[in-house]
């Protein structure tokens, strides 16, 4: 019985804060698990508050923010320059908004082959596998990168997402960036090709890989445990996914030009991933107004953002969603952006 | 309480099909009148026009007059619902309301019309009607049991009790015994004999012996062939019809030469 208010859940309720009220949020489904953790912790710390985060998908989220239906949103990408120029954010006083990358999650490339736990592959090979140009696991392109691994004569079945997905957009962005010759499609949240197996949701992809021998796919790293893992070639070495390696990628990426100081849109370029970083990482943002029409909401959102960006918030999410906590360096920038928000 | 019925030149149609043609008949008060005739000759059809029950059948309609004590049932502004309270009806198969107890069945005509009645008046009416239908002694201990638990003959008498509870002036019966065994039949025949003291009774029967046993007057209907309309052939005292009918077809029928 955790209803109706959190106050009656176990006794260690921290001192009541002054914050009260409800904020509505929608957006990226990638953040679902993390948001659940954040919302739970935030509501417990601020017993008078309710945060409703519904994962409608990033696109509808961004629309809801413009229409004013959502007080803040999660989104797998920042607003584009054009969208910012058009402006008209419903809940905001002005078109000045805050965009902070607070959910960074490596995207693992995982496979299922009897007796093989890990493989080394470069971007080119991965692209060819998913494009359907490499169709068997004993293909020389794979064998040449994996000395000493006994690759079976087994057809490769690449798995992708059946629905539109931020993970998928991240993955296709990577392929397009590192192997533009092998992967000629534009980055896209829906799968552009008509080959391979499609599965719904991260869980569907993971299930397909774990059932299908010879299957390979990409999935949010937190869900990919227990499957064969691909280490991806960056520079001269093969890097397995890890939270640190993923946040290293973001940390090394430049901010997009021509944006305000509290609009931290990263121009992540997997092709330019520094040595030791993991090149496929989903960067998902929280987006809110600098100043809200309703000041009370502004205070709430600001407090929520502060908690999310805090070390505690990042650790809470990592525990629940298995994502990569943001680096200290990045946190400093993020906190600076949040400070720009107007509270009561 | 009993009334005379006068029918003038009545035609009954089902849609475009003329089922009964040109019937004129005078039914006297406090008599039992039997309608006999071969299957399909329109006995039931005609009977139903005497309380406008034919109107329940889509497409059925009449031309002509039916006067009950001089008032035309088919005059404009006559409410068929009220006609039926005046002219009750009992059907071939006993049809007590299955959701109601014996008592409620008897009171159905009163209660369904939302009439308020004191408890003692109700009990009174129930006893009176059931006694009138010769059923009181058999059911007085189980008035609250469902009516469908009775035997066929008892159910039919329950239906008669239900019909007389609304104090009609005429009671129409369409083959009331044809679904019953001989003993129940006998009970109903007895009852009909008593009913005529209070009501005008019209009964359709397939069974000529029954007609001769229970009726005072008999009407013989016949049909020239399939698709032809039924007609009233002869109408006279029952004794006359069964002994010295004036029409050959009647003689053939009652002597069992056909049908």
């Amino acid at each position: 019985a955790n209803e109706p208010a959190p106050s009656d859940s176990e006794g260690s309720a921290p001192a009541e804060t002054a914050l009260t009220g409800t904020i509505e949020a929608t957006g990226a489904s990638s953040q679902e698990a993390a948001q659940a953790a954040w919302v739970a912790a935030f509501q417990q710390a601020n017993t008078g508050t309710t945060v409703n985060y519904t994962s409608t998908g990033s696109g509808p989220g961004r629309e809801n923010f413009i229409s004013g239906a959502s007080n803040f949103i999660g989104s797998d990408r920042a607003y584009t320059a054009d969208e910012l120029a058009a402006g008209g954010f419903g809940a905001c006083v002005s078109d000045d908004i805050v965009e902070i990358p607070v959910y960074i999650s490596p995207v693992a490339v995982a496979f299922n082959l009897d007796g093989i736990d890990s493989l080394n592959l470069d971007g080119e090979t991965i692209a060819k596998i998913f494009a359907g140009d490499i169709t068997n696991w004993n293909d020389p392109a794979i064998a040449s990168q994996n000395d000493g691994v006994a690759l079976p004569d087994q057809a490769i079945v690449p798995v992708h997402r059946a629905e539109a997905s931020g993970t998928q957009e991240t993955f296709t962005t990577y392929l397009n960036a590192v192997a533009p010759d092998a992967w000629t499609e534009e980055p896209s949240d829906v799968w552009p090709l008509e080959s391979g197996e499609a599965a719904e949701g991260t869980s569907g992809v993971v299930a397909a890989i774990s059932e299908g021998v010879g299957y390979i796919g990409f999935a949010d790293a937190s869900q990919a445990e227990g499957l064969g893992q691909v280490s991806i070639k960056v520079g001269d070495e093969y890097v397995p996914y890890s939270a640190e390696a993923a946040s290293a990628l973001v940390a090394a990426s430049p901010l997009e030009e021509g944006r305000s100081a509290h609009d931290l849109a990263f121009a992540v370029d997997p092709a330019a991933a520094p040595a030791g970083s993991y090149p496929i990482a989903l960067v998902s943002y929280l987006i809110g107004c600098v100043e809200y029409d309703d000041a009370e909401v502004g205070s709430l959102v600001k407090a929520y953002f502060q908690y999310v960006a805090s070390a505690q918030g990042q650790d809470d999410a990592a525990a629940a969603a298995g994502n990569a906590p943001i680096s200290e360096d990045l946190r400093t920038k993020v906190n600076a952006a949040i400070d720009a928000m107007v509270a009561e | 309480m009993s009334k005379s019925i006068e029918v003038n030149d009545l035609n009954v149609y089902y849609g475009d099909f003329l089922a009964v043609e040109g019937v004129s008949i005078d039914i006297r008060p406090n008599t039992v009148t039997a309608f006999i005739g071969p299957s399909g000759c329109g006995k039931s059809t005609f009977l139903r026009t005497l309380n406008r029950m034919h109107e329940v059948i889509p497409g059925a309609r009449v031309e002509g007059e039916v006067l009950v004590d001089g008032r035309n049932l088919y005059a404009p502004n006559v409410d068929p619902v009220l006609v039926r309270r005046q002219v009750g009806m009992v059907f071939q198969r006993p049809n007590p309301f299955p959701t109601m107890s014996i008592k409620e069945n008897v009171l159905a005509g009163v209660k369904l019309n939302n009439k308020k009645m004191s408890k003692s008046d109700q009990d009174d009416l129930v006893e009176r009607s059931l006694t009138g239908a010769n059923l009181w002694n058999e059911v007085k201990d189980r008035l609250d049991k469902p009516g469908s638990g009775l035997s066929g003959g008892q159910q039919q008498r329950l239906c008669i009790a239900r019909a007389i509870a609304v104090s009609p002036e005429v009671i129409l019966m369409d083959e009331p015994c044809s679904a019953l065994d001989p003993i129940s039949t006998y009970a109903i025949e007895e009852l009909i004999g008593e009913l005529k003291n209070d009501y005008t009774v019209v009964i359709v029967t397939h069974n000529m012996q029954q007609a001769s046993r229970v009726s005072d007057r008999t009407a013989f209907f016949n049909i020239a062939g399939t698709g032809k309309p039924g007609r009233l052939i002869e109408y006279d005292d029952t004794a006359t019809i069964f002994t010295t009918p004036s029409v050959q077809a009647t003689e053939d029928y009652v002597s069992g030469r056909f049908g």
Binding site: S29, S55, T56, G57, S58, G59, P60, R62, E63, A155, V157, A162, E163, A164, S165, D189, E194, S195, G196, E197, A198, A199, E200, A207, A208, E211, G212, V213, G214, Y215 | Y13, E55, V56, P58, G59, A60, R61, V62, E63, G64, E65, N72, Y74, A75, P76, N77, V78, D79, P80, V81
Partner: protein, 318 residues
């Protein structure tokens, strides 16, 4: 009743209308008209919301991405019809068999229980069917598909690389078949039971065995009922969403291949898949797909009625 006899007879009185009757019949009529209006509203709203898809530039459309609507939706129409057709072909004979078993073979006492057991299948929510199909049924079929592919691979339908997860259009169709069994069985059972005893006894009295009696009296009598049952089942299959979404690896291809990871998909599945992330005219595109589905089911219904009415002269009715 006073109103139903629109008598033209010269002495037929204009019946007295009671207020109770007028109010009651008016309410009843009103309820019927609500249904007409609802259905019209479904069509109109879906249509209005679909207009932008046809008039606006597909290049600006979130989902079409430059493709024309018809070429986008066509593979899904195909997938919808194809999967439902397979489901129907599989389910129809089984449903007829079950219905016969219950109506004419099982002991009477048992028949009610058996009917209930089959109805239980109808009681299972489709999302549960989907989860079962994905977790239990599809993996169960993998070795069978492999066997089919190895032994019957020369038939185009069974060629190619068989799926390692079993999430193929055939699996989806089989799940659909299981799902539409109860409704088809229920209807077939009803009509079988309604076969006039007269005709059954006529056949038996001629010295027919039970099966011959069924062929002579029951099946001909039930023909139109079987067709409408099948069409109702087909309607369910056409519109089924969750089971297909969860069980199928959907690529939206136009292919008759049954065992591969690359499969066609259905309109309801694509709507369910794309709706969560759809915004702007993307939503309109999906609604337009819904309109197409509506038209398809409407057409199927019409077809069923036509089939049933065609042999009315010899039908068992009346």
């Amino acid at each position: 009743m006073t109103t139903t006899t629109t008598g033209t007879g010269r002495t037929h009185a204009k019946a007295v209308q009671r207020p109770g009757d007028r109010i009651f019949s008016g309410t009843a009529l009103g309820a019927g008209i609500i249904i007409l209006v609802t259905l019209a509203a479904v069509a109109v709203f879906l249509f209005v919301q679909s207009i932008p898809v046809l008039t606006e530039d597909p290049a600006q459309n979130q989902i079409l991405k430059g493709e024309s609507f018809l070429s986008w939706v066509w593979p899904f129409v195909f997938g919808t019809l194809w999967s439902s057709a397979i489901a129907l072909v599989v389910a129809a004979p089984i449903a007829i068999g079950i219905a016969l078993f219950i109506s004419h073979y099982a002991p009477r006492r048992l028949a009610g229980v058996l009917g209930y057991i089959i109805d239980l299948l109808a009681a299972v929510p489709s999302v549960v069917f989907g989860m079962w199909g994905a977790l239990t049924f599809a993996p169960m079929l993998v070795p069978f598909y492999k066997w089919l592919n190895e032994n019957l691979g020369w038939i185009p339908m069974f060629s190619g690389t068989p799926s390692g997860t079993g999430k193929t259009i055939l699996t989806a169709a089989l799940v659909l078949a299981v799902m539409i069994l109860p409704i088809m069985t229920a209807i077939c059972r009803e009509v079988f039971l309604q076969t006039p005893k007269l005709h059954e006894e006529a056949a038996l009295a001629l010295g027919a065995t039970r099966w011959e009696m069924i062929r002579m009296a029951v099946l001909p009598f039930a023909r139109s009922g079987i067709v409408s049952g099948a069409m109702l089942g087909l309607g369910r299959a056409l519109g089924e969403t969750m089971a297909v979404t969860l069980v199928l690896s959907p690529l939206g291809l136009v292919t008759f291949n049954l065992l591969n990871p690359e499969n066609p998909t259905t309109i309801p599945a694509i709507i369910a898949l794309r709706f969560p992330e759809a915004h702007g005219n993307g939503v309109n595109t999906l609604i337009a797909a819904g309109l197409v589905l509506f038209i398809v089911t409407f057409a199927v219904n019409f077809l069923a009625r036509w089939i049933v009415s065609r042999r009315a002269e010899f039908s068992g009715a009346n």
